[in-house]
Symmetry: C2
Subunit: 263 residues, 2 copies
């Protein structure tokens, strides 16, 4: 059973510069329809570029917000990632990329008994390897933004990579174990957290802040109208956390309420 | 560059029953030649079964220790895993399996800049998905040992899964970052640690203890005779840690010195 299957997602770039430009990835899931308008740090008029296969809601959003550029992206395909990064670079016309939010994600229902090598590989490719390769491709643009903000400390308004993780990927917390074992999902998110730590160690000195964040679960359980967290609470919470990050937050893991999560 | 490439490893079963039987997996690397005689919990005479493609040292060991049964195993191949589990079951003649040590591992040199999707997938398959599927296959035998020890608390002499991890896979410690970024290795071991936690949550109630352990680095750096840890220190340390584990250790992460590691 697929919960959030959005390997083929979108890049949404807010091209109003300054201030910093935001990229969101993998926004073809149900969650993203709602998250999208809120999660971009700035409101944003401009000029929109839509692709024919976009979900209706994303198309509408792009048409209504002319500063948004929407591009196709498959985070499991290096060619697609490279093409998207090239297009973003063109759109930015020499400006840097201030914020990369790796929001692509897939999830499968499983237990220790039913988990398969196939699902493990699929979710790792999407949830862990995807953010690795996307960040590699967008790194030159992030470096430009960091360089432009030279002299400032680390922050999301200078240059940052935000990896969207989950409390289910916290080994210490192992959230919601009784509700969903989902081994492939948990393992891929723990690995994403490790990637985040590595990125923080490597890129922090270049002025790029790297963190993992759990946006909370906005998916309603079967028969429910809303998830444990409302979309509004989640998106406002994430924005508040991002705004408060500084050098001492580099390489850390937060939830949408602003609580530090253990690895 | 391959450091420890032993996808096609071996199962080594000590068939002296009682006490508990041990299985080691993936022992084709340099490290295992030395680790093997020490790591098995019991000394062991008996009857040996060797495969033609075994490394010389393993063959010699098997011939010299008649209670050891050596079987081929590819932890990335479900058919191979199932066949090995079936053969172990036959060898055990109705007895359970007291200790499963998931010791298979691969490592590649990489940095954040050079890491590839191919290496990420390969190391995840070997270091994370392998232990998942091996444990799934051997679970009935582990359950038998746990059941035979009903009334006892959790321990490695009742029934246990030991996943061989690394301090390099501790997100909190991120050991040896300055020496080796090795992203694919670190991410696969962090995911293995998550798997260990999931196994502990699920199997602990059935009497099976599950832990992750860092045996220390016994690989010499280029130009050096020995690693930071000697083989003797590592193997004796690991055995001491395993002997001291109890119910409160379920789902934890240790190094060979007996120090708890953070996730």
């Amino acid at each position: 059973m697929d919960l959030l299957e959005n390997v083929v997602g979108m890049v949404v770039v807010e091209v109003e510069v300054p201030p910093a430009v935001a990229v969101l990835l993998g926004v073809a899931g149900r969650r993203s329809r709602h998250h999208l308008p809120h999660t971009l740090p700035h409101g944003a008029p401009g000029a929109a570029l839509s692709a024919p296969f976009l979900p209706q809601a994303l198309n509408e959003l792009a048409l209504g917000s002319p500063s948004l550029v929407v591009l196709p992206l498959d985070v499991t395909d290096a060619g697609s990632i490279g093409a998207a990064a090239g297009q973003v670079q063109e759109e930015l016309r020499g400006a840097g990329l201030g914020l990369l939010i790796n929001n692509t994600g897939a999830r499968r229902r499983s237990t220790l008994e039913t988990e398969t090598a196939e699902n493990m590989a699929l979710l790792y490719a999407t949830n862990t390897v995807g953010p690795l390769q996307v960040t590699q491709a967008f790194l030159p643009l992030l470096r430009e933004a960091a360089e432009a903000g030279r002299g400032q400390g680390l922050s999301c308004s200078r240059a940052a990579v935000v990896n969207v993780s989950s409390a289910m990927g916290s080994i210490g917390v192992a959230a919601a174990w009784g509700d969903a074992q989902d081994i492939s999902y948990r393992c891929s998110k723990a690995a994403l957290n490790m990637l985040t730590k590595c990125q923080a160690l490597q890129y922090g000195d270049s002025g790029i802040l790297c963190v993992a964040i759990d946006p909370g679960c906005v998916e309603p359980a079967p028969g429910r109208e809303s998830g444990p967290v409302t979309m509004e609470e989640s998106t406002q919470g994430v924005l508040r956390v991002l705004a408060g990050l500084s050098a001492s937050s580099n390489g850390t893991f937060w939830d949408w309420r602003g609580q530090r999560l253990p690895w």
